[in-house]
Symmetry: C2
Subunit: 584 residues, 2 copies
């Protein structure tokens, strides 16, 4: 294509609202423009990349035997009432009424529509397994859209749904999509990790992986092992502190029973006297305590009071650890978990926020195993301005409910091999999910098995953020000059620069190479603009097409410059051989 | 692809809600399924056709030098306030608020978004002309969605917008799109007519054509000449009755002046006595009058009272003609035109509805030229239960305001060549429109011309109903057995039928041909289902793939059946030559 007339409005400066480098570069290089917060127009270059990513997804879906369909964005609310999600989805779900006051939603995802479709159209095990996908525009009214295409309100997704007649079938469908996803992200040039993720309310039989493109801007934390291929997101990752070796834990568990018995006798402070009161005026946070006492944060134990569904509970983690609420919810099989408010904390502990501790508490106490593995700890005294020192877990408070309730931390041991865990930031570009019978049960999607009995279909769902991939790729592939598109998804493969449109020899040679490249099937962008060379080269670096061929002063001698954007290696070669070099 | 696992849920019976044959067949052949009224899911076969039509559109757009972009469906209401359309668009526009109570609409069209884009990104004549298009999902909350994809609420459209620096440039952009549209519809196999249409409020400098696929189910009337290539939609078409030859009209116009003079003297009934009162009790319609008097409807003149913006007017047309309100609005440069209510009619004429006539009326009277060309007419007497006979236009009522105010009728003379006009029903599959400066003015889209002066961009817009084309094609291409897809947009080119999946010879040969066809680049659907032959053939006819190759009993002898769906011609040929016949 010819750049003179192509709409590529490059910008010298990044618009002030763009924080992420990918957002800045996609705006500056003229790939996208914002229409409203989280809502974008794809300009010609942006759309070309979007379509290349889509094409890769389609190829891999077809290879995996997955069928493409297209479902509507407008979905009747009835379906969402059937699944029960209408009430629980929250404000991200865009709802509106049609002219006849019928309720609709704009699909953020299509489990309901597809389950209703398959329920109506498939009724025999002979038609299973069946996996369907679409590449379609999704709507989510994000509270805080940001980072350009990374967190938008209208975005392009590939969503697939599998229907199986058995759990083994689901495992196989899931694995097939997992493998296809690996190929897709690799082909898009992404440095990604598939990580174990939390399956949420789906429960034990379900499994889920997220595909994380590693990038500092990422909103998720990827926990991975330096020695084996274990990787999980922070919600899911298990971490073991050095102290918490199994034998020690067993020992502690013995103590736990004793502690539990003590507690049951209502003598919460059975070990009283073994520990000391510590005057800690106005020190409510671990940070303040560590500062005022000169002790490490890991010497302390944090006691957090939560409202868990309808009951209050306490969760104990080491001072340098963070509670993982997902793990706590799973342990208690709870739906909702929120920190207790100040009034409740005061009522439960008898002290204002900041001085809670396990001793004497009459609510269930969940003790993280890192706490259980500590010899002595400092905890809140349940009394304003006081903490307790030399408290012994198991002796002074019960370890009856003990488990993994914290986020892993860097340096923890891998749960698989004991190697060291490291953290990275990641952008979630895809997720595969074993849904099981969650939707088939709600929407009554059944089939007749080979014995003629009705069974619920067993489902999986699989998503890829097509538009998000653009941003993730740019986050990973750029330099100070602009974008470095991977070949497979670059908007063009060759950027052919005609340095001076007034030099007839340059024009002639550039036009001839343009023609030859097109004939050879190479996607080429010809910069035929009447601009200064500096502008042309700056724009070219910004746009990031993999190969640049410059037709300049040496055109008369039949020489051109060949340059790879990524390496910046530049050679002068004969115009006669340059097309072969590009295609060879 | 293999049919065994492909989701093609064919139906023996058409669902009762489907009136149009295309709707019935697309449902029965498993191309689409309804999610809600006017909202559909495209199943694998339907999506394949949709993507083929899209590919043709993209090819022709690229050939026309048009650039593809992708705009969002969610549009901020501010833009629609700027253009003034937010208030006037009516209930078809879907409106909703985001979580922060900001108003949005779901785009039924994108003039606002694109004008705002180009206003921001293009500011010099050197970047013009510029034509941009997208293939994107549109939303219109139709009052009465029907006929499947013909009138839906969510549908796929190609919409393009041109920006020029001069009116001549617009003419050229418009012509280029017009030509591309002709190629697109022809390639899709449509029997279509480009027709002159009404440009509505855009005014004189604008022009517009609709592209009509001829089909009985069509909601529009196409008026075309049997002798020349004149064609227009009913709103726009000019028709001349045989009587209304120019000389006669001139003569009448002379009379008109006289009549006008008479009227000006306030002697509305100057010719009184020349005409007779006719007692017509309870005959309020032309039909009733014709029946009770035994005279042809064309002997009568209908007098319709309208409220036109803020004034009442009367419009006279022959009894067998219909008022064309668009033409009346243009003649009076009016925004709104509605029939007067009964009370207003009684106040103006002194008689209840059904007895209005021109004589004695004190409001402006628009006389259709067919009326002016009549020697004597029968009109309402402005008195209950009476009409007047032997009334002479020009003598008994003024012809001062005379023109073309009626719909053309079949048999009228072509305004170009005088040939006979015929009527067809048409489905609007595309429209090209000279917008002029309507949006650039409202949204302040200006450029600097070569002298450095600011000028408004001159715009055109161009739409194609991609999903609607599917229905239009099926309306035109079907027989009693099912669909007859044109080659260019067929979901597959060859339907390869393995008659018995239990016959190893058939299976072997069919698999071999399947492989060969795929290697040859032919899109082939292999019916490898374990179904009776009758079911396979019925489904095949229903789906409508152009060529069918049947591998049956003669497989052992190396023979197969080759059959064209459209002609039903069937031959037995050697399996060795069938691939060459398909590709040759």
């Amino acid at each position: 294509m010819r750049q003179e007339k192509l709409l590529i409005p490059t910008l010298r400066e990044a618009p002030s609202e763009a924080e992420a480098i990918s957002h800045q570069l996609l705006l500056r290089a003229g790939f996208i423009r914002q229409v409203a917060a989280g809502i974008y127009t794809y300009l010609p270059l942006g759309l070309r990349v979007l379509r290349k990513v889509s094409a890769i997804v389609r190829e891999e879906m077809e290879l995996a035997g997955v069928q493409e369909i297209l479902m509507p964005a407008m979905q009747p609310a009835e379906l969402w009432h059937e699944s029960g999600r209408y009430e629980v989805y929250g404000q991200e779900l865009i709802r509106f009424q049609d002219r006849h006051q019928r309720e609709f939603v704009l699909g953020p995802t299509h489990e309901e529509v597809i389950t209703a479709l398959v329920r109506n159209e498939v009724n025999s095990y002979r038609k299973l397994p069946l996996t369907l996908y679409q590449i379609q525009t999704k709507f989510r009214d994000e509270r805080r859209p940001r980072f350009g295409l990374l967190r938008g309100r209208e975005f392009l997704m590939k969503d697939a749904y599998s229907f199986d007649s058995s759990w083994e079938g689901l495992d196989s469908s899931y694995r097939s999509m997992y493998d296809a996803y690996c190929r897709i992200f690799a082909r898009c040039g992404l440095n990604y990790r598939p990580v174990e993720a939390d399956a949420g309310a789906i429960g034990g039989e379900g499994g889920t992986h997220e595909f994380m493109a590693l990038a500092d801007i990422g909103e998720d934390t990827v926990v991975s092992c330096m020695s084996c291929d274990y990787a999980a997101n922070l919600e899911k990752a298990e971490g073991h502190s050095g102290e918490a070796d199994p034998s020690l834990l067993l020992q502690v568990e013995g103590n736990a029973e004793a502690g539990s018995a003590v507690n049951k006798q209502g003598q919460a402070a059975a070990g009283a006297g073994h520990y000391d009161r510590l005057h800690t005026p106005d020190t409510r946070t671990i940070q303040e305590l560590a500062q005022s006492t000169g002790m490490a944060a890991s010497s302390f134990v944090k006691t957090l009071i939560y409202l868990c569904d309808e009951n209050y509970i306490a969760v104990l983690v080491r001072g340098d650890h963070e509670v993982n609420e997902i793990k706590v919810k799973h342990a208690l099989d709870a739906e909702n978990l929120v920190l207790a408010d100040a009034a409740a904390i005061e009522a439960i502990t008898g002290a204002p926020t900041g001085f809670a501790g396990p001793i004497g508490l009459s609510i269930p106490i969940l003790v993280d195993r890192s706490v259980a593995a500590m010899k002595t700890v400092i905890v809140g005294a349940n009394e304003q301005d006081y903490h307790l020192r030399n408290v012994q877990p198991g002796r002074d408070f019960s370890l009856r409910i003990m488990g993994d309730y914290r986020n892993a931390t860097e340096g923890d041991c891998c749960p698989r091999c004991g190697g060291g865990l490291v953290f990275h930031r990641g952008i979630e570009v895809g997720q595969v999910f074993k849904l099981g019978t969650k939707y088939s049960e709600k929407l009554d999607a059944k089939f007749l098995d080979s014995t003629g009995r009705e069974q619920l279909m067993i489902m999986g769902c699989y998503g890829i953020g097509i538009s998000r991939i653009l941003s993730a790729v740019v986050e990973q592939h750029h330099d100070s000059g602009g974008i470095l598109w991977p070949n497979a998804i670059a908007p063009f493969y060759v950027h052919l620069i005609m340095v001076s449109v007034k030099d007839t020899e340059q024009v002639r040679l550039a036009e001839e190479l343009y023609r030859q490249l097109k004939v050879a099937g190479v996607e080429v962008l010809l910069d035929d603009r009447d601009e200064r060379p500096g502008v042309k080269f700056k724009d070219s670096d910004l746009i990031g097409i993999p190969i640049r061929i410059t037709v300049g002063r040496q055109a008369a001698e039949g020489l051109v410059e060949y340059r790879e954007r990524r390496t910046a290696e530049q050679i002068v070669i004969s115009a006669d051989t340059v097309v072969a070099k590009v295609t060879g």
